[in-house]
């Protein structure tokens, strides 16, 4: 909402500067987002006094000595013939730019140097009524900024009005607040002081009424509780007087003509939308407030043809729609230069109805914006009277008749407030009298009964229905800064940390330590490569039609981010994210789960002069990271890796439960990129099911923790101390020929099972294929470490174990490499 500082001052002569008004409104009412000097172009102009003047022979020019407050008298040449010694004039120093855009330069004329310019009204864009330079009637000292002397420096105040306070969408509304804050009484703006008295007839009816040659009918009073109109005859449509044009322009509007400007003045001045119809163009001289007919169309003032339907409310004449009610007028009944008679509409439309109409029409106007949020429905008769009188005055017309259809709004219900409640909510006792005074200042009618206040909201306030609403009024008008802000004690909360949060922190610590970057990308996806598209959740109104789905896998998001990096020639990519994934469930709400995923590709380590090209990440790195991730995610659980197929390297399991997988990630990658590997792990569901029904709670109920969620909440069993060895270890290696069909894990498992209790460690240390190794087999070598707790093992004992193991391995078709 744009406000004019000057206009506000006419409503409430507060005497505050724009900066003071900004600070007061921001502290007590709504935030002022900006101040904009409307004549900032006059800022460089100062007051200067002519101390000597001399005519230049044979010219109109004069050579002057000018005091501009700089302490040095300046030589200035002037072309006007009204220079008077001792008078003060607006002065532009050389180097400055005047409002016409002309830059004032030092110049030489006939041997005289001119160091600036004494300005005319024209040059200052203050109108061209006067001849010659602009004589100032002021006591201000030379050098004073011109704007300080002349009341031209209106400032636009940009107020951020939130949806609960439509009453602030007018100068009157904001003036009321300023009046409450400063204690300065509201005044009638001087431009409205000498409006003609209305001596016209008023015809009234609940559903219809007529007068001044028009008839008004409202079909449904729910859509339009009140419709008033004035018939104004004999108008002349022409440019607005200066004050009206200035007012309209001061709030950022464009002056159109006297009629339109007058309605806009009422809108911005009093917050009451109005519309003027050309009476001659209303078919059948009738006005009907009704729903649009199916297939009906209307060309609105902005020139576009709009298809209407019965959910939309229109103002119609006897034949067709002539305006979108509360939104915009029609082109056909627009006021033009040829208009002589006007019907001025002031009405109350239902907020919901205006919202529906303007949404369907796909436009928002100053009028619809206010109706949607709520206008002062009690003000309609005064607004009509004032608007009609103003319009008549600026257009030379005559108010012929007033028509009023509908009913005055019902009186507002009082809200009860206990003074003790004020203290409880604010943490500060506000005396009863002060509460009453503050509410009274804001227009509430207050009745005090003991320690209880009955406060009836004024007709312009639609946001006050409970005691806390009154407490807010008291708190803000009194000032939030007056409330104490010392920390006091508190009881400990009853809510434990969410297990998924602690899991996230554990995982993040582990993966950051492993050298990975945490990312927070968008979860939208095209759906490509994510399997069955119907299992994805689709955003109904997506931001981008090519990414309408929510991801079902974080790894998919990370893959796209890796491609983004590859496109920027970045091949060493190590990313992880802990976040939500989504799945569609037919007939049910989407299923949301938290996952953790990581992706690695490129060098395993940074390059160094000792190793210019370190090896790239491979499947074994991915497996190790998967183990790191799983250990952080599921404290105390044992995760097993089962060989996968195709892109899936391993399926991760806890017991029989599938918990995640390690994959090769296929990317749209340039040839130089190395292979990408990914891990994705499930952390548990984040349910959107209701905790309890609306208005109920489920305190004390403990939802069961099952599946992956239980793993996340597991605890690590404390490590039992193992006595440090006192005896030396004995080792031997087994180089084995293993058929391709036999997994190394099976061999290792067998070694552990049959190695006996003295077997301490089994380590695979080599894999070899090729020379000396038969087709269809590979050579794998393990080092086995044995240790007896009390004595040194004898060579013979080790030999015995070796042959025992080799014998057992025969069952797998594994034999020693010769």
């Amino acid at each position: 909402m744009n406000l004019s500082h000057a206009w506000l001052s006419r409503f409430v002569p507060h005497g505050k500067t724009p900066e003071q008004v900004r600070d007061l409104l921001t502290a007590h009412v709504a935030t002022v987002e900006g101040l904009e000097a409307l004549r900032a172009d006059l800022a460089p102009i100062v007051v200067a006094q002519v101390v000597a003047s001399e005519k230049v022979p044979d010219t109109k020019l004069s050579f002057n000595k000018v005091d501009d407050g700089s302490g040095e008298l300046l030589e200035v040449i002037c072309g006007a013939n009204n220079v008077v010694v001792g008078n003060k004039y607006p002065f532009a120093r050389s180097g400055t730019t005047i409002p016409t855009g002309l830059k004032i330069e030092k110049r030489k004329i006939r041997g005289f140097t001119s160091n600036g310019m004494l300005c005319s009204a024209d040059e200052l864009k203050l109108g061209s009524d006067h001849d010659g330079i602009y004589t100032l009637d002021t006591d201000a000292a030379p050098g004073t900024p011109f704007l300080d002397v002349m009341p031209l420096g209106d400032v636009q105040i940009q107020l951020d009005v939130l949806p609960n306070r439509p009453d602030l969408l007018s100068h009157l509304g904001v003036a009321r607040e300023l009046s409450a804050i400063t204690g300065v009484k509201l005044a009638a703006p001087k431009e409205l002081a000498d409006l003609p008295a209305l001596g016209e007839s008023l015809s009234q009816g609940e559903r219809e009424a007529s007068g001044g040659g028009i008839s008004v009918r409202v079909e449904d009073s729910t859509d339009c509780p009140r419709y008033m109109a004035a018939v104004i005859t004999g108008v002349t449509v022409c440019p607005s007087p200066d004050w009206l044009r200035d007012a309209v322009e001061s709030v950022g509007g464009r002056s159109i003509n006297n009629v339109v400007d007058a309605t806009n003045y009422m809108l911005h001045g009093f917050g009451q939308p109005m519309h003027a119809f050309d009476k001659a163009k209303l078919g059948g001289a009738g006005i009907v407030v009704r729903r649009a007919k199916p297939g009906e169309t209307l060309v609105t003032l902005d020139g576009s043809t709009r298809k209407l339907d019965p959910e939309m409310l229109v103002i119609a004449d006897a034949e067709r729609a002539t305006a979108l009610a509360g939104v915009m007028g029609g082109k056909d009944s627009e006021v033009t230069d040829a208009t002589t008679d006007i019907v001025l509409e002031v009405a109350t439309f239902s907020a919901k109805q205006v919202r529906v109409t303007r949404r369907k029409a796909g436009l928002s106007t100053d009028a619809s914006y206010r109706f949607e949020r709520g206008v002062d429905d009690a003000m309609v008769p005064q607004a009509l009277a004032l608007g009609a009188a103003l319009l008549a005055q600026v257009s030379g017309g005559h108010v012929e008749a007033l028509v009023d259809v509908g009913r005055a709004p019902a009186p507002r219900t009082p809200v009860t407030l206990s003074v003790a409640r004020v203290a409880r909510v604010l943490g500060d006792a506000v005396p009863r009298e002060e509460c009453a005074r503050l509410l009274g200042a804001l227009g509430f009618e207050v009745i005090v009964k003991g320690e209880t206040l009955m406060a009836t909201p004024p007709s312009w306030r639609h946001d006050v229905s409970r005691d806390v609403d009154l407490i807010e009024e008291i708190a803000r008008l009194r000032g939030f800064d007056r409330l104490p802000d010392e920390l006091t004690g508190h009881r400990p909360g009853s809510v434990p940390d969410h297990p998924l949060w602690t899991a996230y922190r554990r995982i993040r610590d582990a993966l950051v330590a492993a050298g990975l970057h945490e990312v927070r990308p968008l979860p939208f996806t095209s759906g490509a490569g994510q399997g069955d598209i119907t299992s994805l959740v689709r955003v109904q109104n997506p931001l981008a039609e090519d990414e309408p789905y929510l991801r079902s896998s974080i790894l998919d998001t990370l893959a796209r981010r890796a491609e983004y990096n590859l496109n920027r020639m970045q091949g060493h990519v190590r990313l992880f994210e802990v976040g939500s994934v989504f799945g569609a469930q037919p007939g049910k709400a989407p299923r949301e789960s938290m996952h953790a995923a990581l992706l690695v590709m490129g060098q395993r380590r940074p390059s160094h002069f000792t190793e210019a090209a370190p090896p790239a990440f491979d499947a074994w790195d991915a497996k190790a990271l998967a183990e790191t991730l799983a250990a952080a995610a599921y404290p105390g659980a044992t995760v097993t890796f089962e060989a996968g197929s195709e892109a899936v390297l391993w399926r991760m399991l806890v017991g029989a439960q599938f918990v995640g997988e390690v994959r090769r990630v296929s990317l749209d990658a340039p040839v130089w990129a190395s292979a990408a590997f990914g891990v994705e792990l499930m952390l548990g569901e984040v349910s959107s099911a209701s905790v309890a029904a609306a208005g109920q709670h489920a305190h004390g109920a403990v939802p069961p923790v099952t599946g992956v969620a239980a793993l996340v909440q597991g605890t690590r069993v404390p490590q039992r101390f193992v006595p440090l060895p006192t005896q030396p270890a004995a080792e031997f290696d087994l180089a084995l020929l293993v058929p391709d069909a036999v997994p190394a894990g099976d061999v290792e498992g067998l070694l552990k099972r049959t190695g006996g209790e003295l077997l301490e460690r089994v380590m695979l240390f080599d894999e070899f294929r090729g020379k000396g190794v038969p087709e269809g087999t590979r050579s794998l070598a393990w080092r086995l470490t044995f240790r007896h707790p009390e004595r040194t093992l004898r060579e013979k004992e080790l030999e015995g174990r070796r042959s025992q193991l080799l014998k057992a391995l025969e069952t797998l078709g594994v034999r020693p490499r010769a």
Binding site: L426, R508, G515, V539, A589, S690
Partner: protein, 344 residues
């Protein structure tokens, strides 16, 4: 030479040798010392051993044993020192150019938005807050209705919503966690709820369709607006510095009443006004207010017995301003050149 004279000479040698050995600061110097002690020609101990013959026959055995013992001890000391010097030479030999770079490891990083969330969480943890979470795909009722948004009202226009279905939305704020928590747990409630929220906003330098929020909620008997002010001002002092000035100004959220926005004095201009603070001298940090009684009632709580306050803040704004990030989009791109900067 008598035996006692001989033993005195041995003792003198035994006393002075350790200093000589320790004083050798290179392998070469040690060789010289060794030569001076044990050298076949010039060795001091060698000379003494050669002089055994000058002693009376009966004393030779005792003197010889003393000389041999000293010889073994000196050889040990010399070998120890040699090993020491050799190790030193291996570590700091002239072949090692110490100006060469260290062998780096990949540096992992926490996302800059997560860093801000961590710091906020840290401060509120000191005040007894715990962490609650809720779904991002949320029921409309939790996102709007339970939070006292009037149906089909312009207040909804402040939340341009991404819809998933009839009654399902991508949550537009973390405030639904307030209602879920109040339904699940009995007061006293002191929680923070960090998480992602969504708006149908296209990317521009300061807007994104998804961003993080941190919600805070306190509900108990006797909780007041003064507590809100005290706690949030304390937070501001802990986060921005002990001398930071704060101000509270009226605002509007359907789920709080009274509502207030908290600003801190602009750190760039110190309150004088600059481009960063839009010439107001203040920077908006968070929205807050007393929990609307309707919200407590929607969660099945007695709104006369309990009062509460809540706040919400956007950590991305803080991250952007403190790191000087010109465009919010880079927080989402996951460009490793950007992320690497936070590991330094």
């Amino acid at each position: 030479m008598t035996l006692s004279e001989y033993l005195d000479k041995l003792s003198a040698l035994e006393a002075q040798a350790p200093a000589q050995i320790a004083g050798a600061d290179s392998i070469d110097a040690l060789a010289t010392v060794k030569n001076a002690l044990l050298g076949r020609q010039a060795g001091a101990l060698t000379a003494l051993m050669n002089a055994l013959g000058e002693l009376p026959k009966d004393d030779r055995r005792a003197a010889g044993a003393g000389a041999n013992k000293l010889k073994v001890a000196l050889e040990e000391s010399l070998e120890l020192r040699r090993a020491q010097l050799a190790a030193q030479a291996a570590n700091s030999g002239p072949t090692l150019d110490l100006s060469m770079p260290a062998r780096d490891r990949w540096q992992g990083t926490v996302h800059p938005v997560s860093m801000v969330i961590d710091e906020v969480v840290e401060i509120f943890r000191e005040l007894g807050f715990t962490i609650a979470l809720g779904p991002e795909a949320e029921q409309s009722w939790y996102n709007f209705g339970a939070l006292n948004f009037p149906a089909d009202h312009p207040a909804m226009d402040m939340h341009d919503t991404l819809y998933l279905g009839q009654d399902q939305v991508l949550r537009t704020h973390t405030s639904p966690v307030q209602v879920r928590t109040l339904q699940q747990y009995a007061p006293p409630i002191r929680i923070l709820a960090p998480g992602n929220v969504y708006r149908r906003d296209f990317f521009d330098p300061s807007h994104a369709p998804m961003f993080a929020q941190v919600e805070g909620l306190v509900v108990d008997e006797g909780v007041s607006f003064a507590d809100l002010k005290a706690t949030l001002s304390h937070f501001a002092r802990r986060y921005f510095g002990a001398n930071i000035k704060t101000r509270f100004r009226p605002s509007f959220f359907p789920f709080t009443e009274p509502s207030a926005e908290m600003d801190v004095q602009c750190g760039v201009c110190g309150g004088a006004g600059c481009g960063v603070c839009k010439h107001s001298g203040w920077v908006e940090i968070l929205g807050s207010g007393m929990v609307h009684p309707a919200v407590l009632e929607n969660a099945g709580l007695d709104s006369e017995k309990y009062t509460g306050w809540a706040f919400g803040m956007g950590p991305a704004r803080t991250a952007i301003s403190r790191h000087g990030i010109p465009d919010i989009r880079i927080l989402y791109d996951s460009d490793v050149r950007f992320l690497d900067q936070f590991g330094k």
